[in-house]
């Protein structure tokens, strides 16, 4: 019988106390891997929100602010861009396409975004992926709307349903555009980006519902849906617009030109660069979490040390018997080290199983609550390194009881403490 089998059988004999240690190691491994995984997914889902868009242009503001409201629908624009300025800039030679966006309204907690059908044509996310329809098609009429996957799922909408938009971002009875209901004509596929939580309408639609509004309140002469259509529904201003260039090499030149635009103070940002910068600021949270998980691991390893040290007392007799049979001191060291390794490797496997179990159970919940989709993936090299580090750390910790057992076995000799 070799030592490994002996260590296995011995560990199995004391499984109750060791099992708790295995669980505590597993929890720290789950935490470490979980933080790492969530961090990576959050990063990729953040950086994947927009692709192929060379510039995002809005009224002058900080780059992060512009990024947050135009791409993530978080916060508000400080100012609008006039329609003339938009047309002027969209006309630049280097510009291949533009997608105007107009924000400000909402529907049951979801943001409403006015845009053109070019949005479905040019907008890309993830790995240059286009927005696809799960059902229906693009909007054609003024009162048509295309809703994101989450909106449809959460509110249970189907193509053909009528919805009422609210003025502003807080739904309140007195600020409903209830005189001009919209018809759902399309439902988008899930993208894992803020698109899923957006209600898309045409710019004309945005214009139409506000035609009889003034300074955030309904005017005294209401116009119904039909009457509104008779007016010119070209917007006077938009919130921001996305720009695709003929050639990516023009990016910096066009950016500078827009930033120095004379008629109106403008800001143009490169989404990739701003996203990366934004990620840097929020990744400190991840580092803090990682450090906390590290401490959990240390406490787990100390727990294991305590358990193994306390079992050494029960094992004095076992060790004396082995010594009597002819086990050398080095065998005793190996036996204790092997036990440590068995415990920690079992802990790592359990931890990995727990993270995948958690992933399966919690994935829908996390997507729902945080909008971060934790895709299934095998451990990457960094995560394997974490697991390897845990095992090496445990082996080092295991040297302590091993050396103690060795020294005791020399002292005790064949004297059995009954």
């Amino acid at each position: 019988m070799n030592l490994l089998r002996l260590a296995f059988k011995s560990a199995r004999f004391r499984r109750t106390s060791l099992l708790l240690t295995v669980v505590s190691i597993a929890i720290s491994v789950t935490l470490l891997l979980g933080v790492n995984k969530v961090n990576k997914q959050a990063k990729s889902s953040l950086l994947n929100t927009v692709s192929e868009t060379d510039l995002i242009v809005g009224a002058r503001s900080g780059p992060t602010n512009l990024l947050l409201y135009s791409v993530f629908r978080i916060g508000n624009a400080t100012n609008n861009v006039s329609w003339e300025t938009y047309e002027d800039l969209a006309d630049m030679d280097e510009v291949a396409w533009t997608v105007p966006i107009s924000l400000g309204d909402s529907h049951k907690g979801f943001r409403v975004m006015g845009t053109t059908t070019d949005y479905f044509e040019y907008y890309r996310y993830g790995n240059k992926e286009q927005i696809n329809f799960d059902e229906g098609d693009r909007f054609t009429e003024v009162y048509d709307t295309v809703i994101g996957a989450d909106v449809a799922k959460k509110l249970g909408y189907k193509v053909g349903d009528k919805i009422i938009l609210s003025h502003g971002l807080v739904s309140a009875n007195f600020a409903e555009h209830d005189d001009k209901p919209f018809t759902v004509v399309g439902i988008l596929n899930k993208t894992g980006t803020p698109i899923d939580q957006t209600v898309h309408v045409s710019l004309a639609g945005i214009e139409a519902i506000h035609i009889d509004w003034k300074d955030g309140a309904r005017s005294s002469v209401p116009l119904n849906a039909e009457q509104a259509l008779k007016f010119d529904l070209t917007p006077t201003s938009i919130t921001a617009f996305m720009v695709g260039l003929e050639n990516r090499a023009f990016t910096f030149r066009v950016q500078r030109e827009i930033n120095e635009y004379n008629n109106e103070p403008m800001s143009a940002i490169i989404p990739g660069a701003t996203l990366a910068e934004f990620w840097k600021t929020i990744s400190t949270i991840e580092q803090v979490l990682f450090v906390i998980s590290g401490f959990v691991l240390i406490s787990g390893l100390l727990g294991m040390l305590t358990t193994i040290l306390s079992t050494l007392n029960e094992r004095r007799r076992e060790i004396a018997v082995l010594r009597a049979i002819g086990a050398r001191a080095v065998h005793i060291i190996q036996l204790i080290l092997l036990e440590t390794l068995i415990v920690v490797i079992a802990g790592c496997f359990l931890g990995i199983a727990m993270i995948y179990g958690l992933l399966i159970v919690a994935r829908p919940l996390i997507v729902d609550r945080l909008g971060v989709d934790l895709a299934f993936s095998w451990l990457d090299s960094e995560q394997l390194l974490i697991v390897g580090g845990v095992i090496i750390g445990a082996a080092l910790v295991g040297l302590i009881p091993a050396v103690i057992a060795y020294r005791r076995s020399i002292q005790d000799g064949l004297a059995l403490k009954v």
Partner: protein, 231 residues
């Protein structure tokens, strides 16, 4: 002489008097020796000296012509593994192994025992033969040792000590946990098997009643001397 002790003295560092002080002790090959000593007379220390766990403070312990002090500590461990079998008072067995595994384990640490035990057949066959000779039937071989009675466990310990034909068997109070009837049966089987393997038996106990069953008995007195008497 298979065991020779010459002017062996032992004391722990810092102690003022010797625990062991043996002028001379010779044990012949195949001899069954009874060592009687009350508790505190240094019985366990003597066994540790014979097994090469401790080295004498002065004097010489020779087993099979080898001076134990001349061996490095891992060589002494190997020497013990190869040439000595040990039976304790109680709790001889590893509780997480079966009866058979406990016996076979002896050969795991000694190539010599391994070779001896597998000379004519497989080690496990040899172990089963020994167990059967010690009145432990086939059903008990695969059962966990804590299912066995104390008397049965002590016999398993004898099988483990004897497998692989070591020259010397050291027994430390192996019968103190047994009742009189079990004790006599245990001794019968122990003598019978030791004789069958022509193994030298060194049997230590505080119980003077056992002495009459041995060819020779010596006494570890509280004066830490050995008095020899033939019986």
């Amino acid at each position: 002489m298979i065991v020779q002790l010459k002017q062996v003295k032992f004391r722990w560092p810092g102690q003022t008097s010797d625990i062991i002080d043996i002028e001379k002790l010779n044990i012949a090959s195949g001899e069954h020796l009874f060592v009687r000593g009350p508790s505190g007379s240094g019985k366990t220390t003597l066994l540790n000296l014979l097994a090469g766990i401790h080295l004498p403070t002065s004097g010489k312990v020779e087993l099979l012509g080898t001076d134990l002090a001349s061996l490095a500590s891992n060589k002494r461990d190997q020497f013990r593994a190869d040439h000595i079998g040990v039976v304790f008072q109680q709790f001889n067995l590893l509780p997480y192994l079966t009866t058979l595994e406990n016996v076979v384990l002896s050969c795991a640490f000694s190539q010599r025992k391994n070779d001896n035990a597998s000379k004519s057949s497989e080690i496990e066959t040899q172990a089963k033969k020994l167990l059967k000779a010690l009145n432990l039937n086939e059903k008990m071989h695969s059962s966990p040792v804590n299912k066995l009675s104390v008397g049965q466990q002590q016999r398993v310990a004898v099988a483990r000590a004897l497998i692989g034909a070591p020259e010397i068997l050291i027994a430390d109070e192996p019968t103190s946990a047994l009742d009189a009837e079990n004790r006599d049966r245990f001794l019968d089987l122990l003598f019978q098997q030791a004789k069958a393997q022509s193994c030298t038996l060194i049997f230590v106990s505080h119980d003077p009643q056992l002495a009459k069953r041995f060819e020779r008995s010596i006494e570890l007195t509280e004066k830490y001397n050995v008095e020899s008497s033939e019986s």
